[in-house]
Symmetry: C2
Subunit: 252 residues, 2 copies
């Protein structure tokens, strides 16, 4: 069993820190899970018993690794992590996509993934330069939703566009003329992409001639909304109209 390294983007494996992200990795992408790391003092807790049981079922080895958990998370209170093989997925060609153009904050990127999954989106395109999708901080912020989504990184927007030329684009821009409410009143096509720009600079001007740019109406009192907040509002409005959130109501 080779020894582990502090996280680097070049490695072919990453770390999912925390019980919840670890469970998600084992449940949703067991073929990528290499081993489970557990903190000594977590042994015997309900959470660790559940995690160990699942690891056993998935034939993934568990080991005590107090030091590694500390440098993986940078914290003393990280009790578990899964070491997983990095792998990218192809986006579904007939589903709506979320496109993050040059996102620079791993917390925002992870939060957007978590929100996307919750609102019924399953396919995420990341356009370089962008945060490292497999950075432990991104994985943790995503609460492991990364393992339920198709995420693919493209070297530029053209590369994405060539792959999915039929998707109707909705770039989110502060100076777009059409407000979100109006945009979703029109018929929403089956294949569409919601495109969100960088935290500081937004989307480049050329997106204003692509598809149907939309803006989230807010008042003049704040500069703009946080990126993960704006993306959530956009995804919520579209997912409702596109019926992406219609879940099994059998429990109700």
């Amino acid at each position: 069993m080779p020894s582990l390294s502090p996280y680097r983007q070049e490695l072919d494996y990453g770390y999912a820190p925390g019980f919840f992200p670890s469970m998600e990795c084992l449940l949703k992408r067991p073929e990528c899970a290499r081993r489970v790391l557990l903190k000594t003092e977590a042994q015997g807790t309900e959470a660790s018993e559940k995690l160990m049981e699942l690891a056993k079922r998935m034939h993934v080895r568990v080991e005590l690794a107090d030091k590694a958990l500390k440098w993986i998370s940078g914290k003393d209170n990280c009790y578990a992590a899964v070491v997983f093989t990095k792998c990218e997925q192809e986006l579904a060609p007939d589903r709506p996509h979320i496109v993050m153009h040059h996102p620079s904050d791993s917390g925002n990127a992870g939060t957007i993934m978590r929100t996307a999954l919750g609102l019924g989106f399953s396919d995420i395109a990341m356009i370089r330069p962008c945060v490292d999708v497999f950075d432990p901080h991104t994985v943790r912020s995503s609460m492991g939703s990364l393992f339920s989504l198709n995420v693919h990184v493209y070297s530029d927007f053209d590369e994405y566009r060539r792959m999915y030329p039929e998707h109707v684009l909705y770039p989110f821009m502060l100076d777009a003329s059409v407000p979100l409410e109006k945009a979703v009143e029109c018929r929403i096509p089956e294949k569409f992409s919601l495109v969100f720009g960088n935290e500081g600079s937004g989307l480049p001007h050329e997106f204003s001639c692509m598809g149907q740019p939309v803006r989230i109406e807010s008042n003049e009192k704040v500069d703009s909304l946080n990126l993960s907040i704006a993306a959530a509002i956009g995804m919520y409005a579209f997912s409702g109209k596109a019926g992406l959130r219609s879940r099994n109501e059998q429990n109700e």
Copy 2:
């Protein structure tokens, strides 16, 4: 001029770290600004010139305080802060309110304030136990929107309710029977309160018999949405229907 202390909740003053929050404090609540702290290496930059000019106009003293900025922010890259006198405001009795019940994460609380202001809400009730509203991390996450809002902390929900008995309550609960989309299809009263619970535990069960509980429909694939995300989606839906975002369109 007395010397400054590291931030503590008991102090009668707080710190707004960062250029943007500092500007907001000087612009929106100049009567509370005691002094401006600037990092030596920030002198001469455009941002610091703007801040110094504003401080002069508002008759607020500027001083170099490299060490203080480091312990205020916990970071090396904090170039400015404003020292401000803590003060609470009364909530407007005839406006909609955002109620945060037992919020435990200062970043979430600040982000919710920023989003609230952007979507046209001006009045925030915080119900104890809750994060420290004036903690530098809350102020920073709010991007200084704290200084444009009426924020009041109540010792419990009853205290808030006695002050504003006429507000129609909309508690956000995962198991509420009415989805958000349906709730906003009905007439929205002039005085209403959107109530959001704690990050981990949500709202206590008794809120299910208060006003009109609503849930944000999401699919079964994620546990729940992040609190600041859920609050943003709720505020967005209500602010649109209640006309809170109708801004001056004179610039367009």
